[in-house]
């Protein structure tokens, strides 16, 4: 338990990070540092997008697989680390 919390705290306290969340394979958030409605929104949308990105990579080359997904927007950058069972989503506000 403390292992999980410490890791998440390390990520959250990194420079510019706005929020961190862990989502399971069905798109249901398990851990989060943001408020409820935002978390649910991010979890649902990014879960679909990650699945789509993964299938895109696999369709182009079946030997290949998705390792990391980054979305850059006007206001911040969303990073998704996918796995078989979970997704780690980190939202960072990069300094420019």
């Amino acid at each position: 338990m403390t292992d999980v919390e410490e890791t998440l705290k390390r990520i959250q306290s990194h420079k510019g990070v706005i929020g961190t969340m862990v989502v399971n394979a069905e798109g249901i958030p398990i851990r989060t540092t943001l408020d409820n409605s935002t978390t649910v929104q991010y979890a649902g949308l990014l879960h679909h997008l990650t699945m789509k990105a993964k299938s895109t990579v696999r369709d182009i080359d079946p030997q290949n697989d998705l390792t990391f997904l980054r979305i850059r927007s006007k206001k911040h950058e969303i990073m998704v680390a996918p796995d078989k069972e979970y997704l780690l989503i980190v939202i960072q506000n990069p300094c420019e």
């Binding site: 338990m1 990194h14 399971n24 989060t32 680390a81 979970y86 780690l88 990069p94």
Partner: protein
């Protein structure tokens, strides 16, 4: 004899025949032309018609008549089967986060161990990267100019010379409602006025014919739509009443009404808050059928204003402070800013507990809401607006033609901009760009300020009226963010479409706003 009986020439045949008959009847007379003495003669029959009425008989004539032939035709009709169906949207039910105890902790820990290094590396790279410096993408078609989309007016109200006193957009952003009244009457008036609403999403929008009109017995001074119900609108009248209408009902749209004294301003939160120049701030709640009931009341009394600034006049007795404008904070629903006739904004809270020292009659105990007084303008404040992006900033505009940007943490304003030599009637923050606000002036134009570009002069100046009659109210549309509605003294509402630079947020605006707010003088 026989030779004499021969007929004469043809033209005399008849007479000869008669002569012959006559002589034959005479038989053996001596000659035709000489009747003998005392001889028998037979004359023809002479008859005299009877004059007796019965014999004459009834004269009759035969006539006949006939009606024209009747025209017939065949037609058939059939009743149709009706099926009624209704659709209703429901407010979405929020989904909640699963509690952590249900999940497999060791596997979660293993997962995090695997990805932590990757994520930290990416975060670091991102922090130091210059790859996206100056990179901007344009998704929408750029619109360079500000253009007027619609010019809406209600001819009977314009014929009476009414001004547009207040505008409001509804919660879905498709309906704009305006209130008609006069802002320059100094006394009580029983002039009838109107509240009109136009639905801009309808295809058959006619600019001179509103989709809903409500007649009101007195001039309406301010208007506000319900924040979640798209068809409820509340208005404050010159006579002091607060009325709430439901515009989706075509027959009697009036929902609730109340009686009060003096003119009012309204700003509905979920209940209706009304603010009046007699110094009272009242919170109303609709109950049941038709009555707005006072739930909480506040009174502004001069002595109870916090002495954080030096106010020039020292009050004697319990003078009331009239409030002319109200704005709720977007971050804290119990906090609101009042603009007063004396020119100083007040920070107030709905949760204030101290009782007000006033002798005004009221059904609910009045409390003193003011927590902090800011330094004044040169004249009464007509409009305040709280920033939707920063919890501490608000703007106020008044009759001295200045707009002051205040932070709630200090009394003197952060900056003060002179926008016009005449009065400023309304000021509003933009709902999308943290550094943009719009102001409506008495010279007939709407000024849009972008604090990022220039803090001294307006970025865009929109001329609303041709003859410099004042623009009294303006509102941004929070759903369709490129629309801005402004109402003027000629009774027209113009809906402006803003250029793209006012509708899309730049990358660093929120930070710039924070920097601006942080310039609090120590």
């Amino acid at each position: 004899m026989a030779t004499r009986a021969q007929p004469g020439p043809l033209s005399q045949a008849g007479s000869a025949g008669v002569a012959a008959v006559a002589t034959v009847g005479v038989a053996s007379g001596p000659g035709p032309g000489r009747p003998g003495p005392l001889q028998d003669e037979t004359l023809g029959v002479a008859s005299v018609p009877s004059q007796w009425r019965a014999v004459q008989g009834i004269r009759g004539e035969t006539k006949s008549c006939q009606t024209a032939s009747i025209a017939t035709a065949n037609a058939s009709a059939q009743a149709r089967n009706h099926v009624d169906a209704q659709v209703q949207t429901e407010a979405p039910v929020p989904v909640s986060v699963q509690p952590p105890s249900q999940y497999d902790i060791p596997r979660l820990a293993a997962f995090l161990r695997r990805v932590e290094a990757v994520v930290i590396r990416e975060l670091n790279k991102n922090w130091q990267s210059h790859a996206f410096d100056g990179f901007e993408v344009n998704w929408t078609e750029q619109q360079q100019m500000v253009s007027c989309l619609y010019t809406l007016g209600y001819p009977p109200a314009q014929a009476q010379g009414l001004h547009v006193t207040s505008i409001s957009w509804n919660s879905t952003g498709s309906v704009v409602a305006c209130a008609y009244g006069r802002l320059d009457h100094g006394d009580w008036s029983t002039l009838k006025s109107f509240v009109c609403a136009w639905n801009l999403d309808r295809r058959d929008l006619r600019p001179q014919q509103p989709s809903a009109v409500v007649e009101v017995p007195s001039a309406v001074l301010c208007l506000a739509f319900h924040p979640t119900q798209p068809s409820h609108v509340a208005g404050g009248l010159y006579s002091g009443e607060v009325l709430v209408w439901d515009l989706s009902r075509l027959e009697d749209p009036l929902l609730w009404r109340t009686g009060l004294t003096d003119d009012t301003h309204t700003d509905p939160v979920s209940q209706v808050l009304s603010v009046a120049t007699d110094g009272k701030v009242l919170l109303w709640q609709g109950i049941g059928a038709g009555q707005l009931q006072l739930t909480e009341g506040f009174a502004l009394v001069m002595q109870q204003l916090p002495r954080s600034t030096k106010l020039k006049k020292h009050p004697h007795g319990e003078t009331e402070v009239g409030a002319t404008a109200v704005a709720f904070s977007s971050f804290d629903p119990r906090l609101f800013i009042l603009g007063t006739e004396g020119g100083f904004p007040l920070k107030c809270s709905l949760a204030a507990g101290e009782a007000a020292l006033t002798r005004m009659p009221s059904s609910v105990p009045l409390r003193a809401p003011a927590q902090f007084t800011f330094s004044p303008h040169g004249g009464p404040i007509y409009s305040v607006s709280c920033s939707p992006f920063h919890r501490n900033l608000f703007l106020s505009a008044g009759t001295d033609g200045h707009v002051h940007l205040y932070s709630m943490l200090q009394a003197p304003p952060l900056t003060s901009l002179q926008l016009s030599l005449k009065y400023l009637f309304a000021v509003r923050w933009s709902p999308v760009r943290p550094l943009v606000f719009a102001a409506a002036s008495g010279k007939g134009d709407v000024q849009l300020f972008d604090l990022q570009k220039s803090s001294q002069k307006p970025t865009v100046l929109i001329k609303q009226t041709q003859d410099e009659s004042p623009v009294y109210c303006l509102e941004f549309n929070s759903q369709q963010t490129q629309l801005l509605a402004a109402g003027d003294a000629q009774g027209t509402v113009k809906v402006w479409q803003l250029s793209t630079e006012f509708t899309e947020q730049g990358p660093r605006e929120a930070e710039d706003l924070d920097c601006l707010a942080a310039e609090v003088a120590t």
